[in-house]
Assembly symmetry: C2
Homo-oligomer: 391 residues x 2
């Protein structure tokens, strides 16, 4: 390998250099602190697990993006985490099986075999929150609020944010009412995910409740209008009524609490269908094809670990948020240069300044000169050490 090629990094991973690293760290701390102050307890999960616990049954998407490794100690297959949600579900089910409500938050790097969606990163810094043990909409509303608050903290404004509300209960209930086979449901899910209306039109012609499926995809974003287009059988279904009621309440709540956030309903949204069981939410901003943050209800995720519980949560990529140009952190512009001098008074002053959060660099020998990057320098005036602004 020629020396010239030893510094090439794989696609989708990158060094994070000082200026960006300081932003990322600052943002990570602030976002975690905000979640913790809302009662979400911090947990850290392992980078690797056996595939049996990391990839619970039925999540083919997650399996595809998960790097696999052989464990030399056990001879068993391990995966590198591609999502922290299932890991936190394992903690809720087994490690900390609290009765009642549990709130957890986390931040950690995940790895993907290939970039997801239109993002180019294969190693996002996933940060999120999960609430276990409460099945009512109030928990989802708390989660939507935390997600918006997270983005407002990162962007210092809610303006320009677009919130998209969906509910997989609509599609699930229609599939149940239409008594679709697993194959039909999978085919239809795929068409919904790709939002391919021509294919959907053809498919719906031969399907029970085909007209209703078509209307779900094409009926628009107004709940009142949407309801009028479904058949009476569908409208009488409890699952459908519950989904509409949840969407309406969530939408009203968001509009009241975050009037600056643009909020709309996408009844045909099935992103994370294999995972989610109720209301889903995703926040977008201009210039980003991917959601900045997303989440939803995923009751029963703990079943694979022997303890199904109601659950709702959200997550985001802190790297994506930190790169967002709207957001700026005021990094300390104070950098103090200290000469090479064995004086204990100087050493004590340097220590005090550093403890106060200011950057002090001390010369390694008497010949070293400060460069222009130092805003101040420490100097001895009449036997007394002083901090003086650099001219």
């Amino acid at each position: 390998m020629p020396v010239a090629e030893t510094w090439l990094l794989p696609d989708g991973v990158a060094d994070i250099l000082p200026e960006q690293a300081a932003r990322l760290e600052h943002l990570r701390r602030n976002l975690l602190d905000a979640l913790q102050s809302a009662g979400y307890q911090l947990v850290f999960t392992p980078l690797i697990e056996y595939t049996e616990s990391l990839l619970t049954a039925g999540n083919a998407d997650l399996e595809l993006v998960t790097f696999k490794l052989m464990d030399q100690l056990s001879g068993r297959l391990m995966g590198i985490r591609a999502d922290l949600t299932t890991q936190v579900a394992r903690i809720d089910a087994h490690v900390l099986p609290v009765q009642g409500i549990s709130r957890y938050c986390y931040a950690g790097t995940v790895l993907h075999t290939a970039p997801q969606g239109l993002s180019t990163s294969r190693s996002p810094l996933q940060l999120g929150a999960e609430l276990y043990g409460y099945e009512g909409l109030a928990a989802d509303l708390e989660m939507i609020g935390l997600m918006i608050q997270t983005l407002v903290l990162a962007r210092s404004t809610g303006k320009g944010l677009h919130l998209n509300l969906g509910h997989v209960g609509l599609f699930r209930s229609l599939s149940r009412l239409a008594a679709l086979s697993a194959e039909q449901e999978a085919q239809l899910t795929d068409v919904f995910l790709r939002k391919s209306l021509p294919e959907l039109k053809t498919l719906c012609q031969d399907l029970p409740l085909g007209q209703d499926f078509w209307w779900l995809a094409y009926g628009g974003q107004d709940i009142a209008v949407l309801k009028q287009g479904f058949s009476a059988t569908v409208l009488a279904d409890e699952g459908i009524q519950q989904a509409f009621s949840d969407l309406l309440k969530a939408s009203e709540c968001v509009k009241a609490r975050y009037p600056e956030v643009d909020c709309s309903i996408d009844p045909a949204e099935l992103r994370g269908y294999h995972y989610h069981t109720g209301i889903t939410f995703a926040a977008y901003a201009a210039g980003y094809a991917m959601p900045l943050a997303q989440g939803g209800r995923y009751d029963g995720i703990g079943a694979a670990y022997g303890r199904p519980r109601p659950a709702t949560g959200f997550s985001c990529d802190v790297q994506l948020l930190a790169a967002d140009s709207v957001w700026q952190v005021a990094l300390s512009p104070v950098r103090i240069w200290a000469p090479c001098d064995p004086s204990p008074e100087l050493a004590a002053l340097i220590q005090a300044e550093r403890q106060a959060g200011r950057v002090v660099v001390q010369a390694l020998d008497a010949g070293q000169e400060p460069d222009r990057l130092y805003s101040h320098h420490l100097t001895n005036v009449d036997g007394c050490w002083q901090i003086v602004a650099t001219q």
Copy 2:
């Protein structure tokens, strides 16, 4: 896979639960802040790289502990970082090729195929600092100071710390003077690393300067005594003289600045021999078979990336430090319970308390009761919301 087994984690990795996670996060922040305030710029490096850049030539130890992955995008072999030092060296050589002195700090999870030394963890949280571009001892002394300061921050005292100073220049110079073959040097290094005196005795009988090699291993920790046992040829060597001078100065400096730290010299210490080129240092504490932190000089590490530079650094495992029973963090005992009430005054008060760093959990419905874990609750007294201590 039975449900009962889905929660078993591989050996050497673990969930970090709320209490320990809070400590770890607190410590990580404080240690990084201290390094940054000494002028060390934070960088984050990728979790994966091509093996060509991650495993630079001649580091068989690192290769052995590095997990390998196939990159599906390029068809090339990648490794998961097992050490951040080579990654930071790559940044210094190629990404940020600053002239003069560069100071970097970092914190990140690394993975090892098997536990290292007597530790049981395969995924330490490596935190450290590196100084590039200065070949004098002053940089090593700064690094030793930062390493001790890091441990004092973590343990809130320097008492009970034992600092071990070594210098690979002694062994290197002896090998050069004895004109050892690569094979002889490798064999001897292995015996020194295992500190196997019987084997060394046999080996030294047939070796040029065998008596000096034996004395290096067996001459003890006092530099003045040590010098008397070497042959005149050896004592006249510049490399040997430099190494003794460095060790003496470093030892005196540590004793003057950190009198509470027990400091000794181990001239036969070759840990990290393939890597280090000058003085080495490791800090131990009672109850830990592994060093709590270690480092040393490793000039020329950037050569693999086309830019050899003088370099010195140290690193530690924050998880190990956080688990240290000497250290305790005072986690906020204030947890406030708020009732489910749509009042905007209540919402504003909750927001303000959270921003002040206190934990406020709001009931999700009117029927929820706070448990004993809440130290305070928010209550409405005569139309005014107040924070009251829980009885």
